[in-house]
């Protein structure tokens, strides 16, 4: 769980990110609730600094790495159930079967998910969730939100998170103490994985709030347009794709119609097999089906 994944974690989910002093100009199109969001961000940061981070640091110091890895794998195995469901909802039947096999193999041979045997067998772990599925179905992200405790989200992903927690088997455990222990362990283990990433963010960001926001939105956008093998988030001319919400992360001007079929775009078509007309077509359900 360590190593380069920390680099990814810098981006992945700075659910526990910190707020920066000062104020940046707003981006009303993507982040209409910036004032409230900054306040929640600041609250989350205070909570993290006062409680979550110290607990996670102690946990990391006390629990040896193999044990932490086992804990992480067990919860990742539970999450693979949702990965499989979302693969299916996105029309990727092959992936859905492979994800279900992961759960089966890891739960049995991997002893309740403690060991990720499936990955060693070549069943690669995917990263899919309900927010991403909604995006693939054509839902726009909506305004950016910072959720209390949970951190960066947007309207669409908030709904996705809601669905996930509603179905989450860990939350369904009726024995309250067991449930609370498991939920806390999962949170602390996740936070311990992000400890180095937090340091990197601390050092890299001018304004942590907008750094985390832009990184989150960009990453979520890429997760929606990714179409295995195709480079995510790029137009035929190499400029980044605009987010579905207008104005997010400085969208470039649209490609004029006269350039749709110029030589460069034709080449791009051959390369990616995508229509140069609308690079967003990758996000549409129709093309998700064709990728079967």
């Amino acid at each position: 769980m360590k190593a380069w994944s920390n680099l990814r974690h810098l981006v992945v989910a700075l659910l526990f990110a910190a707020v920066a002093g000062g104020c940046a100009s707003t981006n009303p199109a993507v982040d209409p609730f910036e004032g409230v969001n900054r306040a929640v961000f600041s609250f989350n940061d205070g909570l993290d600094k006062a409680l979550v981070k110290p607990v996670a640091t102690a946990y990391k110091a006390v629990v040896p790495e193999p044990a932490r890895q086992c804990v992480g794998n067990v919860f990742a195995n539970v999450n693979d159930i949702f990965v499989s469901i979302n693969s299916l909802l996105q029309g990727k039947v092959g992936d859905a079967v492979s994800d279900a096999c992961r759960v089966l193999v890891n739960t049995t041979v991997g002893i309740a998910g403690c060991f990720d045997v499936a990955s060693k067998m070549g069943l690669e772990k995917h990263r899919r969730d309900f927010g991403q599925t909604l995006g693939k179905w054509g839902f726009t992200p909506g305004p950016y939100l910072v959720l209390p405790v949970l951190g960066p989200s947007n309207f669409r992903d908030g709904i996705g998170t809601g669905i996930t927690s509603y179905l989450d088997p860990v939350w369904k455990i009726s024995h309250v103490r067991t449930r609370n222990v498991l939920v806390t362990t999962r949170a602390v283990n996740n936070r311990a994985d992000l400890l180095t990433a937090g340091d990197v963010l601390e050092e890299a960001a001018l304004d942590k709030y907008s750094f985390v926001r832009d990184a989150y939105l960009q990453r979520r956008q890429n997760m929606v347009v990714e179409d295995d093998g195709k480079e995510a988030g790029k137009r035929a001319d190499g400029s980044p794709l605009p987010l579905a919400v207008k104005g997010a992360v400085a969208p470039p001007p649209p490609v004029p119609e006269s350039l749709w079929f110029d030589q460069a775009n034709q080449r791009e078509t051959l390369r990616t097999g995508l229509s140069p007309r609308d690079p967003r077509s990758a996000a549409a359900p129709a093309s998700a089906k064709t990728s079967l």
């Binding site: 769980m1 360590k2 190593a3 380069w4 994944s5 920390n6 680099l7 990814r8 810098l10 981006v11 992945v12 000062g22 104020c23 940046a24 100009s25 981006n27 890895q69 794998n73 990742a76 990720d116 990955s119 690669e124 772990k125 995917h126 990263r127 180095t196 340091d199 990197v200 050092e203 890299a204 960001a205 001018l206 304004d207 907008s210 750094f211 832009d214 990184a215 960009q218 990453r219 890429n222 997760m223 990714e226 480079e231 995510a232 988030g233 190499g238 980044p240 992360v249 400085a250 080449r267 390369r271």
Partner: protein
């Protein structure tokens, strides 16, 4: 007659060799692979680096990575349309500060590299002859899910250099655009330079402690 055939064959063979060498030199991924190999070899050979000695890691990044990175281009694209409004002195200061911020970030990320990490290259995204390419790789650590790490390279004056990176769907230089333009709107180009310098200074003192 026989001699001539041998001669011709030799010429053809020599031709292939030359082409091969030229291609190898010209391919955008060759340089990335070399740089990555050198860095990972250096980390594997040095226990200090593995235990997170930041000064040594910084040195490694300066000597092995920085020469392959086009910091001028990176700064230009992060500053965006405000670039032309900056005086040459301001531009130089921006490049200096941004370079030091990026190398520090990279060093921080590198300090979590483990010798057992495997780097796998995905198909190169490049049309032969074009001055832009994406060298794509997957970082396979002990974690189940591999991490995407793509290098955007650009050929300027005959040499390939990195102009951006994509870490798991996150474009590093792209991400600074928003922050930079916010800072410039609020406190001008000098304000941005000051902010960068202050951040670098606090990072430096942290690395030493």
């Amino acid at each position: 007659m026989f001699k001539q055939i041998i001669k011709a064959a030799l010429l053809v063979a020599a031709g292939f060799c030359a082409c091969g060498a030229a291609l190898a030199q010209d391919a955008p991924d060759a340089l990335i692979r070399r740089a990555v190999d050198e860095v990972t070899a250096a980390i594997k050979a040095d226990k200090d680096i593995q235990s997170g000695n930041r000064q040594k890691i910084n040195g490694l990044v300066d000597t092995k990575i920085a020469p392959y990175v086009n910091f001028v281009r990176m700064t230009q694209s992060a500053v965006g349309r405000n670039w032309s409004k900056a005086t040459p002195e301001q531009q130089a200061a921006l490049i200096r500060e941004f370079k030091s911020l990026l190398t520090n970030t990279y060093s921080g990320a590198l300090s979590s590299y483990r010798p057992e990490t495997v780097i796998e290259y995905r198909p190169l995204r490049w049309q032969a002859g074009e001055p832009e390419a994406v060298v794509r790789s997957l970082i396979k650590g002990t974690s189940a899910e591999p991490v995407q790490l793509d290098y955007y390279v650009e050929k300027i004056d005959g040499g390939w250099k990195v102009v951006d990176m994509n870490v798991a769907g996150f474009r590093l230089v792209e991400n600074y655009k928003g922050q930079f333009s916010n800072e410039i709107t609020n406190s001008g180009i000098d304000g941005l330079i000051k902010k960068l310098a202050a951040l670098n200074k606090s990072n430096e003192s942290k690395a030493k402690s």
